[in-house]
């Protein structure tokens, strides 16, 4: 045998999922390397899913200390009164995740996300960042794009009962089964910066309002030099003002970004755990698809709002 076969232990553990995506996909998963930065509830849900799925390695990055807020949607950190005994979020999550699946190598990478250079990302097949500033999203995405190998890039954010996933697979070619034959499909993804630069007027009419609302809030935090999520109801008047400016600049009707939606996004920035579970699940599936090369990947935004219950895919690109 060529050493490529799954072990008996792997076959027994992964039995049910091999029946979904096949041995080949499982083998590819077990050789893949995933990087995750920003370990709030949604990212933690995602980490659980891919550790269970059996990726080769998972590298965690989040130097923040454990706070009550950080614990709110996090099931990885055992409850104790001294808040994790001084360990960082990444360290504490790492300990728990290792336990989930001994066949996955889970480790911690310390340091600020912005300090990692292009070469750092070469070690990975998948990079997921969560709860990051607009600048960080753009910059990490660009670094991944500079590499000769394709690194799949994702952002995921949950604000209260709303969530967003962004996907950049650059040029992605995959096999698609159509009744009898297998056809080769090719998708061309824009970077995050390219996607959000597309004039709003030129986007399809019935696009999710959440897309615009997220851009307004993201931009607000950027211009006010806030940390991601550092926003409250007091900011609402200024957020609405920014919304009006952006709508004017893009010649978009203000009604496309309702006050009530923006209010929900600023009033509580806590992640709503059921929404975190849903986003972490969708993102997990997407990453598994991208690694295994099986199934249609989503292009290139996903939105969920628990108020209407829709989980929508939006293609925000020029190709």
């Amino acid at each position: 045998m060529n050493g490529e076969e799954l072990t008996e232990q792997e076959t027994a553990l992964y039995d049910r999922q091999i029946r979904v995506w096949g041995v080949d996909a499982q083998r590819r998963l077990s050789k893949s390397h995933v990087f995750v930065s920003g370990l709030k509830g949604t990212a933690v849900e995602f980490c659980k899913n891919i550790v269970l799925a059996g990726v080769g390695s998972l590298t965690l990055n989040d130097d923040n200390p454990v706070t009550e807020e950080a614990l709110a949607a996090n099931f990885l950190i055992p409850f104790d009164d001294n808040m994790g005994g001084g360990g960082s979020l990444a360290e504490l999550c790492c300990d728990s995740l290792k336990d989930f699946n001994p066949m996955v190598h889970v480790s911690v990478e310390k340091g600020d996300l912005s300090s990692f250079d292009v070469n750092f990302f070469e070690k990975f097949d998948v990079v997921v960042i969560s709860c990051c500033s607009l600048a960080a999203k753009k910059s990490v995405n660009e670094k991944c794009r500079k590499l000769s190998k394709r690194v799949a890039f994702y952002t995921v954010d949950c604000r209260d009962s709303c969530g967003e996933i962004f996907v950049d697979l650059q040029k992605y070619v995959y096999a698609k089964k159509k009744t009898d034959e297998t056809v080769e499909c090719q998708l061309q993804y824009p970077s995050f910066e390219e996607a959000i630069a597309i004039p709003w007027r030129s986007l399809p009419k019935r696009i999710s309002k959440l897309y615009f609302a997220m851009r307004v809030v993201e931009r607000f935090e950027e211009v006010e030099r806030r940390k991601p999520g550092e926003i409250s109801i007091e900011d609402l008047p200024n957020v609405l003002k920014l919304r009006n400016e952006l709508c004017l600049a893009h010649s978009l009707s203000e009604s496309q970004i309702p006050d009530s939606l923006l209010e929900r996004l600023v009033v509580s920035t806590k992640e709503f755990p059921p929404v975190s579970a849903i986003l972490g699940g969708i993102l997990g599936q997407e990453v598994i698809k991208a690694i295994s090369g099986k199934g249609d990947p989503l292009k290139n935004f996903f939105f969920f709002d628990s108020v209407d219950g829709k989980g929508l895919i939006e293609d925000i690109s020029t190709s």
Partner: protein
């Protein structure tokens, strides 16, 4: 979302979760994180290795322990302040009665079988507690909300019929690998290792039925004077050689089919000396590790063995059964978690497949088919659990008009991967949640009370503790605390023809059937009918009103579903979407999803109609929801050997 009302609704709620499996683990975690304080959880299962890839609250060291209890302990580690009450028990136990259900604000199902789902549905209706129901398979899933009087109940729409195969396809003319599996599992395995008193159609009926039935009784008997190898050879030659040879004599059968090839031991293992018994002794004596593969040094369950390898596995497995597991023989039923049984069935199915020129399959694939193993991944369960909690919170805040049923799709429909639709209204003629009487056509001079109990009350109405009354007279009842003379009385009634019961059931009679635990009462109008079509009405009775025909529904939806439900393709959505193990063969994979975002259930899109060429034959209903996987076999209408249970 984080309004005060929302938080207090969650904090004050007392929630019952049924099932701590794939969905259950995710659900318990998400409930705890969302602030629920008082959660009760029922699950009768213990933890298995194949659970660990998605039931993330469990570890290797928990294998064999109660799911409900381990799940509780795991969640308390990150939320020690909340109360979680585990029950390692069957939800059908009588102590989980209507009063038990009444204490909860909402019931959340993460179950793996239809039977338990129906039971919980009835208890929720009787206790008037809202139910959030769910299921997943592979990347597909759904969440539905059932509130008495406001939305449909779980049983308002008929569930698709379980996958069935004509009996002659299994015994004589297999054309797909699954037919070989059913043969190997339900006929050969059952014949050799199961209850000898069970009816079994293993022997192919030849034109001279008399001779074959004469021999069929003793041929599978292990004779005192023969060793295991001789016995194994004899069985092999009989089922793969002689029976095929006999079948070939039915010229008519093979007119439009490829003829099968009889396979004898000497053709396959010609260069191997026929070994005497005793050589299995060198294998590991540890019962749990008894394995033909280990004995033969076959390693990869993904490999497809050739005919010769399959034959060797067949012999090794058979010999291991007879030498090491003698005491099990006679009372085994196929169990996907019994490695030796899986090996035997894989090998036997493959040898039969080789006879019929059907592609062979790996042990891994064969196990999936034989064990009705559901495809399951963690991500779908996590998504579904999130959706359950969102619906549960709406229910708790009395926002029932905002409740949705949601499909989790593999491919987007109208851009949606998660597609919410408005719940259906209750079906006014649903025998479970409305008081519409049922109508039973039956020959009251021929059918016995036993037929009524077995074919209607138990199997169709799904009652576990039934009580049948005619006017004020009790005809039949099941229970633990009955007087002896009553038990004898009921037993005698069972054997009586309906019209000859002490309180005769005849045309025009209305009987009442109820289940005291489920608090479900059904009135059944009896209509006498003389004749029944053996082929289309094999029960000899027809019950109207328990599976309301969705005809009107179909025509309404046909306009916006892109023809998905009207096409005659045999492709169908998974028939029963399940949480966990042990359910529904998904022959067509997981590709099909509702088209066009129409308002209908996945199950409605499925096409329960068999392909045209199979329509004429009676079916073997497979009841994958039964733990013991017994397949009820009905005779092929074309066959002149009639077997009845009367």
């Amino acid at each position: 979302m984080a309004s005060g009302q929302h938080v207090s609704a969650i904090k004050g709620a007392k929630v019952l979760m049924v099932g701590a499996g794939g969905i259950g683990c995710e659900l318990l975690k998400t409930l705890a994180l969302s602030g629920f304080q008082d959660i009760h959880i029922i699950d009768m299962d213990t933890i298995e290795v194949s659970n660990l890839n998605r039931q993330f609250l469990f570890r290797q060291s928990h294998v064999g322990l109660s799911k409900a209890k381990v799940a509780r302990d795991a969640v308390l580690r990150f939320r020690p302040q909340i109360s979680i009450t585990p029950y390692h028990a069957n939800v059908k136990d009588t102590n989980f009665n209507v009063d038990f259900f009444k204490q909860f604000s909402v019931v959340l199902n993460g179950l793996d079988n239809l039977d338990a789902r129906r039971h919980v549905n009835r208890l929720c209706l009787a206790a008037d507690v809202p139910l959030v129901e769910s299921g997943t398979t592979g990347f597909l899933g759904q969440v539905t909300v059932h509130i008495k009087g406001q939305t449909e109940c779980y049983e308002c729409q008929p569930k698709p019929a379980p996958k069935t195969y004509p009996v002659c396809t299994i015994t004589s003319t297999p054309s797909k690998f699954v037919h070989c599996i059913v043969w190997a599992k339900d006929l050969l395995f059952a014949k050799l290792f199961g209850d000898k008193n069970q009816d079994n159609d293993l022997n192919v009926r030849s034109n001279d039925a008399a001779t074959s039935s004469d021999h069929s009784e003793d041929i599978f008997e292990h004779r005192k004077d023969e060793d295991i190898q001789q016995y194994a050879n004899r069985i092999y030659d009989h089922v793969f050689g002689h029976n095929i040879q006999t079948a070939l004599s039915n010229e008519e059968t093979w007119k439009n089919r490829n003829k099968p090839r009889p396979i004898y031991v000497k053709d396959v293992l010609f260069d191997e000396p026929i070994q005497q018994n005793g050589n299995v002794d060198k294998s590991n004596d540890h019962l749990s590790s008894l394995s033909a593969m280990a004995y033969l040094d076959l390693k990869n369950p993904q490999d497809i063995w050739n005919l010769r390898e399959n034959s060797r596995v067949f012999f090794a497995a058979l010999k291991l059964f007879f030498s090491k597991r003698q005491k099990d023989i006679g009372n085994l039923t196929f169990d996907k978690d019994d490695p030796l049984a899986v090996e035997f069935v894989t090998a036997a199915a493959n040898i039969r497949a080789a006879s019929f020129d059907i592609p062979l399959h790996s042990l891994f694939e064969a196990k999936g088919i034989a064990g009705n193993i559901v495809h399951a991944v963690a991500t779908t369960n996590a998504i579904i659990a999130g959706l359950i909690v969102i619906e549960a919170i709406k229910v708790l805040q009395n926002e029932t008009k905002n409740c949705r049923m949601t499909y989790c799709l593999q491919h987007p429909s109208r851009k949606m991967l998660l597609m919410p639709v408005e719940p259906f209204e209750p079906n006014k003629s649903c025998y479970v949640c409305s008081e519409t009487p049922l109508l039973l056509e039956v020959n009251t001079h021929r059918a016995k009370l036993r037929d009524l109990v077995e074919k209607i009350v138990t199997s169709k109405l799904g009652m576990s503790l039934p009580l049948i009354t005619h006017g004020s007279s009790l005809l039949y009842e099941v229970g633990d605390d009955l007087e002896e003379d009553m038990v004898a009385n009921y037993a005698a009634n069972l054997e009586k023809v309906l019209s000859e019961l002490p309180y005769a059931i005849t045309g025009g009679t209305i009987i009442t059937v109820e289940d005291l635990q489920q608090e479900l009462v059904c009135n059944i109008n009896i209509k006498h009918r003389e004749e029944f079509d053996e082929e289309n009405e094999p029960d000899g009775m027809v019950l109207h009103g328990w599976t309301p025909a969705p005809a009107a529904e179909n025509s309404k939806d046909a306009t916006d579903n892109n023809g998905a439900s009207t096409s005659s393709t045999s492709k169908s959505a998974p028939d029963v979407i399940e949480d966990d193990d042990d359910l529904s063969i998904l022959e067509t994979g997981i590709e099909t999803i509702p088209a066009g975002g129409q308002k209908r259930k996945l199950s409605d899109v499925s096409n329960p109609e068999p392909p045209v060429d199979e329509k004429r034959a009676k079916k073997i209903p497979m009841h994958p929801e039964n733990d013991d996987d017994v397949i009820v076999m009905l005779e092929d209408g074309n066959d002149d050997i009639s077997k009845t249970t009367q």
